[in-house]
């Protein structure tokens, strides 16, 4: 299992060094980024190996991954070394009051206790939840034992089998890569992949916010994210929603940094994270369109340049293009339900129920509304904050519209998919609230 994590983090850290040349390299923030980038790097190689070149399992599979990682290392070594030369990161530093210190201690105690429970569950509870088996783990198991992808439409395991041929492959391939490194299929071990995504998400939010609002506030908000019951449970179960949240959170973190500082590498990273999100879960489509709509509006109002807009689209679509072309070639649509529009306003009750009555998020959505109310002046006065909040609002709306207007409404009414769909935006919502607490001291 250690080899799995090394094989993910090594190319991830090399990619971080290529993509963030002007920043310090081996930081916790970059390790969190590396986990996401490395997961994509390895699974995209596996995708080419099995789906594009149609190869069967052989030692060549390991050679492909490690050889390309080696090429990346060589590329980094011979490239111009600007490592750590510029660091524009400015964090807010202040002494903690006694009450803040007490809060930090409470947070650390609760975090340590619940983290130990998370590790305990990950260590002994094998995959057993229906959608995680049907959508994400079954394909990994089929590939492990069949050793290749079946391209005969008349066969049971055509394109990997399972009930959702059109679903992206990052999660099954990540599980496959872990199992093939173990040498036996052990679905208990797969839990640790998601522990990795969970910790990376928390780290990304903490360090992404720390830069703007300081350690103490960032710690509280990252703690809220860590201890939301639904997020926590996805931290050791094989679903795609939490990994998608990680990629979207990365994209928004870098896009906000670009809005504030206009550093080119931040825009590139935001676009790459958006593109990589298409490999994780189809929900990325709707959220990407919502994001583009806001971006387009800013360009129309001349707040942002068309050049940046076109670069963003180009890089994000290029990052997703192999998968998008593949699914177009094999006529794999987006829908799993019968096509046609409906109008089911009753799902709005389900939306309110999951946000404000269920215990999935603790009190998070109440916090968010209160934070908007009390920070409204600051939000409305900041172009960058309006962008992030507009995206969050449109993103939520787009997800709700999918349930409101399509046959997917049944999965909102019976509460079998709605909450975890919202999970993909939870990291972005924490960032939006956190960014809105920026420059709070200047108010008084």
């Amino acid at each position: 299992m250690i080899i799995y994590f090394i094989s993910i983090l090594t190319p991830g850290l090399l990619l971080v060094r290529v993509l963030r040349q002007s920043r310090p390299w081996l930081t916790v923030f970059n390790i969190c980024l590396a986990y996401a980038l490395g997961s994509s790097f390895v699974t995209i190689i596996l995708f080419f190996y099995f789906f594009i070149f149609r190869l069967s399992y052989s030692p060549g599979l390991f050679w492909s991954v490690w050889l390309l990682t080696g090429c990346l290392a060589v590329g980094v070594m011979i490239s111009k070394n600007t490592l750590g030369r510029v660091d524009n990161t400015q964090t807010i530093k202040s002494r903690l009051t006694s009450m803040q210190l007490a809060a930090v201690i409470i947070i650390l105690v609760f975090s340590a206790v619940n983290l130990s429970f998370l590790f305990s569950h990950a260590a002994v509870r094998p995959a057993a939840l229906y959608d995680s088996l049907a959508m994400w783990s079954f394909k990994a198991k089929v590939l492990f034992y069949e050793q290749k992808i079946n391209f005969d439409p008349t066969q049971d395991f055509y394109l990997g089998g399972g009930g959702h041929l059109n679903y992206p492959w990052q999660i099954p391939l990540a599980q496959y890569w872990l199992q093939v490194n173990l040498g036996v299929y052990d679905d208990l071990a797969a839990n640790w992949i998601f522990v990795g995504y969970f910790l990376s998400l928390i780290g990304l939010v903490f360090f992404g916010l720390k830069r703007y609002i300081g350690s103490w506030r960032a710690l509280i908000l990252a703690f809220f994210l860590f201890s939301m019951p639904l997020v926590w449970h996805h931290g050791f179960n094989a679903y795609a929603d939490l990994p998608l949240a990680l990629y979207l959170t990365g994209a928004v973190t870098f896009f906000y940094a670009w809005l504030k500082d206009k550093q080119r590498e931040d825009l590139i990273l935001a676009a790459i994270f958006w593109g990589l999100s298409f490999w994780v879960k189809d929900g990325a489509w709707f959220l990407y369109l919502a994001f583009l709509l806001v971006f387009f509006g800013y360009c129309l109002k001349k707040c942002l340049s068309w050049s940046a807009f076109s670069k963003f689209i180009l890089i994000s679509i290029a990052s997703a293009s192999p998968w998008l072309l593949f699914r177009a070639f094999y006529h794999l649509g987006l829908s799993n339900v019968s096509v046609g529009l409906v109008f089911k306003p009753e799902i709005l009750i389900s939306v309110l129920e999951t946000m404000f009555v269920s215990y999935s998020w603790n009190l998070w959505w109440f916090f968010l509304l209160i934070a908007i109310f009390f920070n409204f002046k600051r939000i409305s006065g900041s172009s960058a904050l309006i962008f992030i909040w507009s995206f969050l609002g449109l993103g939520l709306l787009s997800l709700i519209l999918v349930y409101l207007l399509t046959m997917n409404y049944q999965y909102a009414l019976d509460q079998t998919a709605l909450s975890r769909t919202l999970l993909s935006l939870i990291g972005v919502s924490v960032l939006a609230v956190g960014f809105s607490f920026n420059e709070a001291h200047s108010d008084y």
């Binding site: 803040q100 002994v124 057993a128 088996l133 079954f138 975890r420």
Partner: protein, 139 residues
């Protein structure tokens, strides 16, 4: 639902964690309304407060205090669940699967039968069967 019950393990798919109720009243709504009222009071009437520096910090303290109420119940539930983990450790991988699947309650125990019968007709049960017995089915 008891406050200390480990709820997600009672369902076969993690999509929603049911809310707590005092009779007909959802606890989350009651706490949320109290939080909104307290937030207004804290922001409007505590000017000059020396303990915390500004409005944002006061709000975050308030959020944290309310958050910990439900998080304490969640942590206690997790503690109960983690005591079950100790039982899991003694078993091999396949027995752990049986224990976890049999512990998922929302299919009225039907999931358990996956391990003792032929390939089921029910599509949900068949998914479990195909996943757990994949190697046996195809060799």
């Amino acid at each position: 639902m008891g406050l200390l019950q480990f709820l997600p393990e009672s369902i076969s798919t993690i999509n929603i964690i049911p809310g707590y109720f005092f009779g007909p009243l959802p606890v989350l709504v009651v706490l949320g309304l109290f939080l909104a009222i307290f937030s207004i009071l804290v922001v409007k009437f505590s000017v000059g407060e020396k303990i915390v520096k500004d409005r944002s910090d006061r709000l975050l303290f308030l959020f944290l205090a309310f958050w910990l109420v439900l998080l304490t119940a969640f942590t206690a539930g997790n503690y109960q669940a983690s005591r079950q983990d100790a039982n899991y450790r003694a078993f091999d991988s396949f027995d752990k699967k049986i224990m976890r699947v049999c512990g998922l309650g929302d299919l009225s125990g039907r999931l358990c039968r996956v391990f003792s019968g032929a390939r089921p007709d029910d599509p949900i049960l068949r998914t479990y069967y195909d996943y757990y017995f994949f190697q046996r089915l195809n060799n």
